[in-house]
């Protein structure tokens, strides 16, 4: 962090001249990575969503016997009734509930870790990460065994439980990283000026931790939207989410255009939401931090 701030160092004219080139070279690999693995597949999906499904899977070529086969049929099919929109809405609600629960559970824990003795912190963070040492599916199967006797298996609650359990570390870590950096002097000063515990939390800790809350929420919300294994294993007869729907189109139903359309609309939905969230977050953060 500090090394990347050249203003702290005496200026070397040669270095200044080289800086744009260096910066360009350093940013090249991530840019290429994003272009190759995000933009290119996204464009391929736009193309596939306009193509027609092939007789035995795959796609009908865009240009067949000199005739253009592209059309908006799949989009028309998607918007022809409410059923797909309903699944989108339901998935966003599940993702929102998961994010909120993760936040409520993760915040006190991250705070406790950040406030614990420096010697123990690394160990505590390691414990948060420990579940990753065993396979994701095995951990979900463990929940099948845990929930079975309580008549909770194959219900929406089981899906939310599984989602919260799997994604909790993604909320804890950014929160911890943020909370750990808070300067205790601020809280002491507030106390000296007569602020109670609640006021200190509302006026200092919470506003300062907003960046951690936002990044943790994004890290939980977005993967939950695409998750299909948890609803499939823990959910009941109504717990279908967008992830399941997309997977079904590509594998079981081999309707790539519909699968691509669904993925694309999901991406657009997430980007819109992220844009709105960033906009909503800006004034408050700017005003208090």
């Amino acid at each position: 962090m500090t090394e990347s701030q050249p203003s702290n160092r005496p200026r070397d004219p040669a270095q200044t001249r080289r800086a744009p080139l260096t910066r360009w070279l350093v940013s090249l690999p991530p840019t290429l990575f994003l272009l190759t693995f995000f933009l290119a597949p996204a464009l391929l999906m736009v193309g596939a969503s306009l193509q027609q499904p092939g007789d035995f899977g795959g796609l009908v070529p865009a240009l067949e016997n000199g005739r253009l086969t592209l059309s908006l049929d799949t989009y028309r099919f998607f918007f022809s009734d409410w059923i797909y929109a309903e699944i989108f809405l339901r998935s966003f609600l599940v993702a929102a509930a998961t994010t909120l629960l993760c936040l409520l559970l993760a915040y006190p824990l991250a705070w406790l870790i950040a406030r614990s003795h420096r010697r123990h912190r690394d160990l505590l963070v390691l414990l948060v990460l420990l579940p990753f040492a065993s396979n994701f599916l095995i951990r979900i199967y463990a929940w099948i065994i845990l929930l079975g006797p309580f008549d909770l298996l194959y219900t929406p609650w089981a899906v939310i439980t599984g989602m919260v359990y799997v994604h909790l570390p993604f909320m804890i870590l950014p929160l911890y990283t943020n909370l750990e950096q808070h300067d205790p002097a601020l809280l002491e000063a507030a106390q000296d000026l007569g602020a109670g515990a609640a006021t200190r939390f509302w006026r200092i800790t919470l506003p300062l931790s907003l960046p951690g809350i936002w990044s943790g929420s994004a890290l939980v919300f977005i993967p939950v939207l695409g998750m299909f294994a948890i609803p499939e294993l823990l959910g009941g007869t109504r717990d279908i989410l967008i992830g399941n729907l997309i997977k079904e189109q590509f594998l079981d139903n081999r309707d790539w255009p519909l699968g691509s359309t669904l993925s694309l609309l999901l991406t657009v939905g997430v980007l819109l939401l992220a844009g709105l969230a960033a906009r909503a977050a800006r004034p408050w953060r700017g005003g208090t931090a």
Binding site: Q52, P53, G54, D55, F56, G57, G58, F77, I83, Y84, E86, I87, R90, I144, G148, L153, Y154, E232, L233, G235, G236, T237, R238, I240, N244, L245, E248, Q249, F250, L251, D252, N253, R254, D255, L258
Partner: protein, 356 residues
């Protein structure tokens, strides 16, 4: 994985050029647990070659990998409709029957499937029936019939089974079962009849615990689920698991009298295979009764090979859920892929089934 495969191929080509024996490698892309280690070892000893196996757990996974450009597989073991897809994609090599003297062991009823009449490309290896598996002890206490799809589609029976039933999470399989119960074909093309099946499923869905493709094996074996719609080989495993764990109940399974879905998995030669000679040798080896029996003894699969019968454990060979009697076989249907328009229509119905 692909890089590893490419390395392996380059390596084996290099060795082939240098005239080494280690270059004799047969690449097999096959279902999990479809070939026992002993049989594989016996084949390796017989041919003086190495058998290299890769595994898949469903046809779609295998097709997707091949469509993405995986090469170097000599043999695949697709189900009927996937054989048709591969044939349409011109991805298979025809068989040389002169090199398959044991081909006569295949039962007459498996020699002329619609996708490959006369076995020009595909040699049948194992069969599975989609059946109802059930907790026999519990169901006889409740006095429920076990020979009909009515068990999972009729509220008067389901009243006693609420939350104790799972059905397959597969549009073709579940809607196929409903069609069979209504007396229609699983290849029906009339949308009105499919709609009837959809309404039947929506009506009975509240009684089911969940859609499950794999967890029902455990659920049946531990006793939390009493009736499951699923594959005969899975039911066999649930039955064995319950027995081995000494549960106070028995798991049984049978083909409903209205008929059901039959899956036949066959050996086919992929066009990218480099060793058709070894591939033919392997198929002929597996057609030998003693070797063909392997898959039945291993996972409780049905067997299209007549010569295998004496080598199959009596408990498996005599099980009508695994080996349907001739009369039942008449009522079994194989799934065949629909055209894209029908696929989309059915997928729309399936989504509605999942949401409502």
């Amino acid at each position: 994985m692909n890089a590893w495969r490419a390395t392996l191929i380059v390596l084996s080509l290099t060795l082939m050029v240098s005239g080494s024996h280690a270059a004799d490698v047969l690449h097999l892309y096959i279902w999990n647990t479809y070939l026992s280690e002993e049989t594989a070892a016996r084949f390796e000893a017989r041919c003086g070659c190495r058998l290299k196996q890769d595994f898949y757990s469903d046809n779609e996974e295998m097709l997707a990998k091949l469509e993405a450009g995986a090469i170097g597989y000599d043999l695949l073991v697709p189900t009927g409709n996937a054989v048709e897809t591969l044939l349409r994609q011109q991805a298979l090599q025809p068989l040389d029957k002169n090199r398959l003297p044991n081909l006569g062991n295949i039962k007459a009823e498996f020699r002329n499937p619609w996708y490959d009449p006369g076995m020009r490309y595909a040699v049948p290896y194992a069969t599975t029936v989609t059946v109802l598996g059930y907790n026999a002890t519990r169901l006889s206490e409740l006095g429920l019939p076990t020979d009909s799809w009515a068990l999972i589609f009729e509220p008067r029976y389901l009243d006693k089974l609420k939350g104790k039933v799972t059905v397959l999470n597969s549009q073709r399989e579940l809607m196929g079962a409903a069609m069979k119960y209504l007396g229609y074909s699983v290849q029906e093309t009339d949308p009105a009849r499919w709609d009837e099946a959809k309404r039947l499923i929506l009506r009975t869905k509240p009684y089911w615990a969940t859609f499950s493709n794999s967890t029902y094996i455990k659920d049946l074996a531990v006793g939390t689920i009493w009736v499951a719609h699923g594959y005969s080989s899975d039911m066999y495993r649930a039955q064995q698991d319950a027995r081995d764990a000494g549960r106070p109940f028995n798991i049984a399974f049978r083909t409903p009298k209205e008929g059901a879905v039959l899956a036949v998995d066959s050996f086919v030669l992929h066009k990218s295979g480099r060793r058709p000679d070894l591939a033919h040798q392997f198929i002929n080896f597996m057609l030998d009764g003693a070797n063909a029996a392997d898959v039945s003894n291993l996972i409780g699969a049905g067997n299209p090979n007549a010569a295998a019968r004496p080598y199959i454990a009596p408990g498996i060979a005599g099980n009508p859920g695994i080996f349907p009697p001739a009369a039942d076989l008449q009522r079994l249907e194989m799934l065949r892929d629909f055209d894209p328009k029908t696929r989309r229509l059915l997928s729309r119905m399936w989504t509605e089934i999942k949401v409502r």
